[in-house]
Amino acid sequence: MTDIAEQEVIDIADMDVEAFNEFATEQGWSDGMPLFVPTEAKVAKFVDTVRGDNRPYSPVPPRQIVPTIQAMAANAVMAGCKPEYFPVVTAALRSVLEPDFNLHGTLATTHSCAPMVMISGPIRKELNVNCGSNCFGQGWQANATIGRALGLMLLNIAGAKPGEMDRSTQGNPAKFTFCFGENEEENPWTPYHVQRGFKPTDNVVTVMSGEGPHNLNDHGSTTGDGLLTTFAGGMATPGANTVYGKGPSFIIIGPEHAATLKRDGFTIETIREELWQRSRIHISRVSKGNLDTYASTGHKPDGDYLRIGRTPQDLHITVAGGPGKHSAFIPSFGGTMVACTRIQ
């Protein structure tokens, strides 16, 4: 087979969508779901949406090639994006290329992590990004395809092929797509991107290499204090990388839980501090072998407890979702950071 990796535009025989998918699968371009055909004409429409953004991209590990806008757009087309989604997709790629995000490590690891993409700002409404009921789930083109486009870029540009450079033991359904919007309208505190120093009117993409959302169900507690007991219990998981990797985690609070916490006087800062204190893991819940391994790499217990991060600031908090008594905990890969990029 000709090495077509060296050609940006390829002439192939005319074929229908089914035949193209067979071809694309043979090339190793597919995530297993049907792809749209990245014709030159379609790609050009996407490229038009980012004209004027001339900031260079750094080489993408592990393949260490500098992506072209056309190749990035080809992945967004294949994912099923609309052209107007593309500035969000490129911002997501810029975010994962932040050095402390550790893209190489998050792609090559045996851990199950996938790139979580959270969208903030007015663009959520313009693009119809789901921030409410079922925001982590199916049914919205923007959520489904923006996350998928990033995944395809990591497969095709970064070279993270499952079983080869992507060494994940079991993977994670979030590797297909993991994109949602903040529910800023029902957030009684400060939206996440504003916590990070952006203006409320800025459009921002936030990424973290995380596991899928872990549900935090609490129908019974009628106080903020009770909710935090439930949240902390759900977060204190000895099997998470964050126990020894000491990286960030997200707590995505559902609007009804957020209203209760707000009513009882909790702020983002006090929630973070309380969860930090209460989510410690007693060493009786951790095997001796694991304790020895953690200690050998410098992660010793704090007294009789292990922490799930380095400081309370490793706990990132915002609001998303719709009606119901559920929130979510998203632990990270560990050796990574939460990166934000303003959408141009």
Binding site: E6, I10, D14, I65, T68, A71, N102, T297, G334, G335
Partner: protein, 93 residues
């Protein structure tokens, strides 16, 4: 039909050319580098034991990254490069 190749990219700027000096595995200083995952150290201990069959091992020194999930710090790589003629890496998991 003409399509855009989703894998296309430009090669990053070429790195510095490094002049490799020959190494004498029987005498030169060697760094044994662990990726800090379980069993990497055990693997290196086995290598060191094998080497001891035919050479002095006083100048064979263990090193490890400070994080299993992140690349070794640049200053650590430079220190190893400055002080050892060879390095053997072990990837445990």
């Amino acid at each position: 039909m003409r399509i855009v190749n989703p894998t296309f990219g430009l090669s990053a700027a070429a790195g510095e050319t490094v002049a490799l000096k020959p190494i004498n595995w029987a005498t030169d200083a060697i760094a044994l580098m662990s990726n800090s995952k379980p069993n990497a150290r055990e693997l290196l201990e086995g290598v060191r034991a094998k080497l001891s069959a035919f050479r002095n091992v006083d100048n064979i020194v263990y090193h490890s990254k400070n994080s299993a999930s992140q690349a070794a710090p640049k200053d650590q790589i430079e220190k190893v490069a400055a002080n050892f003629r060879g390095a053997l890496l072990a990837l445990g998991d």
